[in-house]
Symmetry: D2
Subunit: 305 residues, 4 copies
C-alpha cells in the first residue's frame, strides 16, 4: 500500500485533493494517508523515504503561488510533479456547540485562508482577533482545544471534530480555485497527452537581458508560458528565482529543445516535471514531425525535397 | 505641517522608515505621523485626502514583494511613488516583566515577521502557538493586552510599551532588508539623478508572446529590468498582473519610449513613478543625446553627417 | 531653370523616368536635362554642384538593386533621395534600315538590359555576339556608329536616331518594373504622406547578432522592412553593407526612434531620405499620438490616467 | 573517371578552381573536365546526368554573390554544395603579337571581370569599347577570332591560346577573392569538421516580421549568419528570396533544430548543403552534448541532477 503524505492534519483541503486523486485512479492501489505539518514537511517525507508521494497546494487563483511549496521544491534534493488536481475553495466557519458569531473573540485561521476571507471577517466579525493556525484543519483543532472561539476551516474538519458550522461558502472572491500537485521522487514522466504542463525553476546569471533570453527560448519555439512567478533567492535584494510553467511535455521536441538550451545558457535550471493539465490553458507547442522527417531525408541526401 | 500616514501602530518598522525619510530631509517641514492599520489603509488615506503622503513597505529581500502594498497600488485611483528607503530588519522578542522564553505558549506575530523567524521559533519556542497580529507593533500591544505571552516585534515598540526583550537580532536570514516607499498623489516626478528607479504595473492581453513583446520593449532599448513580480489578477487561474521595476527615469528618453510603446501594445499599463534609487542595481539606460542631435541635423537637411 | 542630371545619353529609360517626374509636377519650373555617362557620374554631378538633382535607376523587379547606384549613394558625400517613380520596362531591338534579325551578328546591349532579354536572344539570335554598351541609348548609338548590327534599346532611342525596330516589347519576364529615384543634396525631406519610404545604409560592427539587433530596432517598433539588400564592402570576403528600406517617414516617431537607436548601436548608419512611395507595400508604422499625450500627462502628474 | 563540369571554356578562373579541387584530393580518381558555357549550364549538366559534379563561382569579395549561380541553385531540381575553394583573382590583359595598349579599340570582357577592372580600363584604355564575352576564357578566344583587339582574361587562357600579356595583376581592388563551390546531386553531406558552412535559400511568407522571425531561429540558438543575400524572386517588386550561409553543419544539433524550425515556419526553405569552410569566419554553434545528456537523464527520472 503506497504511503502518500499530505499537508494536514486530517480535514484540510489538501486531504480533499488527495481524495480526489484517489477517486481519479491516479494510484494503482489504496493508499495510506500520512499527515504532515507543512508543505515542506510533506515533501521532506518523500526525500527521507518515509512516503512514496506527497500532495501539496501549489497555486491559488486568489493568492497566487504557495511560497512554501515552491521554495521547498526549488531547494534540496530534486523532486518531481507527476499529476495535478484543482479544488474550488470556500471556507466554513466552525465553532463549538452554542457559540454564535457574536461570541467570537478569537478566530483561528491558517494565514492563506485568513487572507481569502479578510473582507468577510471585517464585515461579520469586526472585533475578532485572528489566531494563526498551522493549517485549515489545525484551526478547527485549535477550537476543540479551547485556544480559539471559532475557526476558518473546512466542512470536512467540522464533521471529523463534531463542530458546528456558523457560516459556510465563505470566500471574498468568487471561484477561488486552488491547484494541488502530486509529487514523487524523480521518475519517468507520465506519457504526453497533448494537454500537458511542464514546470521548471530558473536561477539566472546576473547579466542584463538574461531573463529576456530565457523567455526567447520558449517564444522562438512557439511554446506558451502560462505561469511566471519570481521569488527572491534570499541572498540579497534584487536576486530572484523564476518559476515557469509552459504548455507541453518534456517528450515534445520543442519543450526538450528549450530545456536543453536553458541548461546551456541559464545560470541554473531545475526540471520539476511534465504532467497532464486539468484545465487546458494555452496552445500546445508545434509538432516537429514533418520537420524531423524532412531533416532525415536531407541528411540521407534524398533529392526530391 | 504635512500629514504622512504609515503602516502602524507606533513602533513598526514602517514608522522607523518614516523617521529615516524625515532625517534624510525628504520633507520640507516637520510632519505629522498618522498611523494606519494596514498598507492599503495607509494608501487609502491619501486617496481620501486625509494625508498628503504615506510610507509603506514594498519589498523584502526574504519574502519578496509585499502583496498588500502592490495590490493596493495596482487597484483604485492611481498613486505615485516618490522616494524609497531601506532598513535592515531583525526582530526583538518582547514580553512582560518576569516572562522567560520557557513561559511562552502564545506568541503574537505579524505574519510577514512570523515567516522571517520561523526557524528561530521552531528551535527556541517549539511548543509555542502563533497568534496573528496586525503589525509588528500591534504584536507588542497584544502582549500588553494579555492576548499573548510574547511578541515578535521591534525594539522601538518595546521601549514605547515598557516591555522586556527576551531576544534581539532575531532573523532566520542574514541581511534581511526591507524597502519602504513614500507614496503621494500623482505629481511631477522628482528630478532624474542618473540612478533612478521607475515602476509600472502591466496587465497583458491574453495572446501568446505578449509578455515576451512587453519585455522586448525594454531590452531593445537597453533598459535593465530589476524586478519582475507576477500576481494573479484574481479573475481566474492563469491571469496575472506584472509589477516591473526598471533602471531609469520617465525623463530618460529610453524609458519614455518604452512606456509609450507599452501604452500602445500592452493591455493596460499603470505608471507608479520614477524616483532616486537608494541601492544602485543595474545599468542606467543609454543616453540618446548624440542620436537626438543627429536626428535634428538630418531633419534639417545638414549635409556633413 | 533647375539642371537635372540623368543616366543617359538621351533615349534611356532613365530619361523617360525624368520625363515622368516632370509630368508629375515634381519640379517647380521646366528643367534642363543633363545626360551623364553612368549612375555614379550622374550623382557626382550633384556633389560637384553642376546640377541640382539627378535621376537614376535604383531597383529592378527582375535584376534586383542596381549596384552602381547603391554603391555611389553609400560612398562619398551624403546625398538624399526625395522622390521615386516606376516604369514598366520592355526593350526594342533596333537596327539600321534593311537589317533583319537574320543579319545580326553583333548585338549591342547595356548589361542590365542584356540580362533581361537573355532568353529571347538565345531563341531569336542564337549566333549573335553581345557587345557591351554603356546604356540602353548608347547601344543604339553603337549601331549608328557601325560598331554593332543591332541594339537592345528603347523605342525613344530608335525615334531619335532614326533606327528601325526589329522587335518590340522584348522581355524575358512579364511586368518587369524598374524604380527610379530623384536625388538631391541633403535637404529637409518632403512632408510625410502616410505612405512613405525611408532608406538607410548600415555597416554593422562584426559581432554575432549585430544584424539581428539592428532588425529588432524596426520590428519592436512595428516598422515594416520592405527591402534588405546586402553588398560586400569590398574590404574582404564576408563583410557587408546593408541597404534597408522601411515603410514610414523620418518624421514618424517610430522611424525616428529606430534611426536614433541604430545611430547609437550600429557601426555606421547613413540616412538616404524619406519620400512618398509610388506603390504602397507594407503597413505604415503605428502612430504614437495617444502614447505621447499620455506621457505628457504622466510627467505633469495628472491623476486620472 | 568522374566527369566534372566547370564554367568554361578552358582557361577560366573556374577551371583553375577545379584544378585546385583536384590538387586538394577532393576527387577519388582523375576527373574528366567538361566545359560548360555558363554557370547555370554547368549545373544543368548535373541535373541531366551528363556529369557527376560541377564547379561554379558563387561569391566575389568585390562584386558579391554571383547571381547566375545562386538563381540556378534556387530554381529547378535541388543540387547540393559539397566543397569550396577560394582563388585570389586578378586579370591579365591579353592581345595578339604586336598589339600594344595604344592599339586597343575593342576590349573583350566577361561582365563580372569588366566590373572589377573598370577603373584600370578608364585610366589605361580610356577610348576602348567593351565587348561582352561569355567568360574570361571566351574573351581570349574572341581576340583569337578577331572579334576584339584585346581581352580581360587569365594568364592560363593566354598560355593556351598563345596570346601576349599586355598587363597582368590587373584589379581595381586589392585582394579580390572569389569563392568557388563543387556541386553534386543531393547526397550525404561530408562529415562535420568543426569549421563548416551550411547554406540555405528561404522564400518567406509575406507577413510583417517574417524575416525577423527567421533570423531569430539562428540567433536564439547561437548560430552565426555569415552571409545574407537577397535577390528578387522576379514575381513582382518587393518579393525576395534570401540566400543565407551560417557557421555549422546539418549534423550540429543547433543547425538541425534551426532548419527544422524554418521548415515549419518559413514559406519555403531549400537546403544547399553543409561542407568544410576554407576560410573560417564566425563562431561555431554551441555544442548541446551536455544538454542532451542532461535531458536523457531527466527523461529517465535520474534524481541527482
Amino acid at each position: 500500500m503506497p504511503r502518500i503524505a499530505y499537508f494536514g492534519p486530517s480535514g484540510t483541503f489538501t486531504e480533499m485533493a488527495l481524495a480526489q486523486f484517489e477517486s481519479a485512479g491516479v494510484f494503482d492501489a489504496p493508499v495510506e494517508r500520512v499527515a504532515a505539518p507543512s508543505q515542506g514537511g510533506a515533501l521532506d517525507l518523500i526525500r527521507s523515504g518515509t512516503v512514496e508521494g506527497a500532495v501539496v497546494p501549489i497555486e491559488s487563483s486568489v493568492e497566487g503561488s504557495i511560497s512554501a511549496t515552491l521554495d521547498s521544491l526549488a531547494i534540496g534534493p530534486r523532486l518531481q510533479i507527476v499529476a495535478e488536481t484543482e479544488l474550488e475553495v470556500s471556507f466554513t466557519i466552525l465553532a463549538g456547540t452554542g457559540t454564535t458569531l457574536a461570541d467570537v473573540r478569537l478566530l483561528a485561521a491558517y494565514p492563506v485562508a485568513g487572507a481569502q476571507v479578510r473582507d468577510w471577517v471585517s464585515r461579520h466579525l469586526p472585533d475578532a482577533q485572528m489566531f494563526t493556525s498551522a493549517s485549515n484543519a489545525a484551526a478547527a483543532e485549535d477550537v476543540v482545544a479551547g485556544r480559539a472561539d471559532a475557526a476558518v476551516s473546512t466542512a470536512l474538519a467540522g464533521e471529523r471534530l463534531g463542530l458546528t458550522a456558523l457560516a459556510s461558502g465563505v470566500a471574498d472572491h468568487d471561484q477561488a480555485i486552488t491547484r494541488f500537485v502530486l509529487v514523487t521522487r524523480p521518475r519517468v514522466a507520465p506519457p504526453a497527452t497533448g494537454a500537458d504542463r511542464t514546470s521548471i525553476v530558473l536561477e539566472l546569471t546576473n547579466e542584463p537581458g538574461s531573463l529576456m533570453r530565457a523567455f526567447a527560448e520558449f517564444a522562438t519555439r512557439g511554446i506558451d508560458l502560462t505561469r511566471i512567478e519570481s521569488r527572491p533567492t534570499r541572498t540579497g535584494m534584487g536576486t530572484y528565482r523564476f518559476y515557469l510553467d509552459c504548455v507541453g511535455h518534456i517528450d515534445d521536441t520543442a519543450v526538450a529543445e528549450a530545456l536543453k538550451a536553458l541548461h546551456r545558457t541559464a545560470g541554473r535550471i531545475r526540471y520539476l516535471g511534465s504532467w497532464p493539465a486539468t484545465s487546458a490553458t494555452g496552445t500546445p507547442p508545434p509538432s516537429d514531425e514533418a520537420g524531423a522527417e524532412w531533416l532525415i531525408q536531407l541528411r540521407k541526401g534524398v533529392a526530391d525535397l
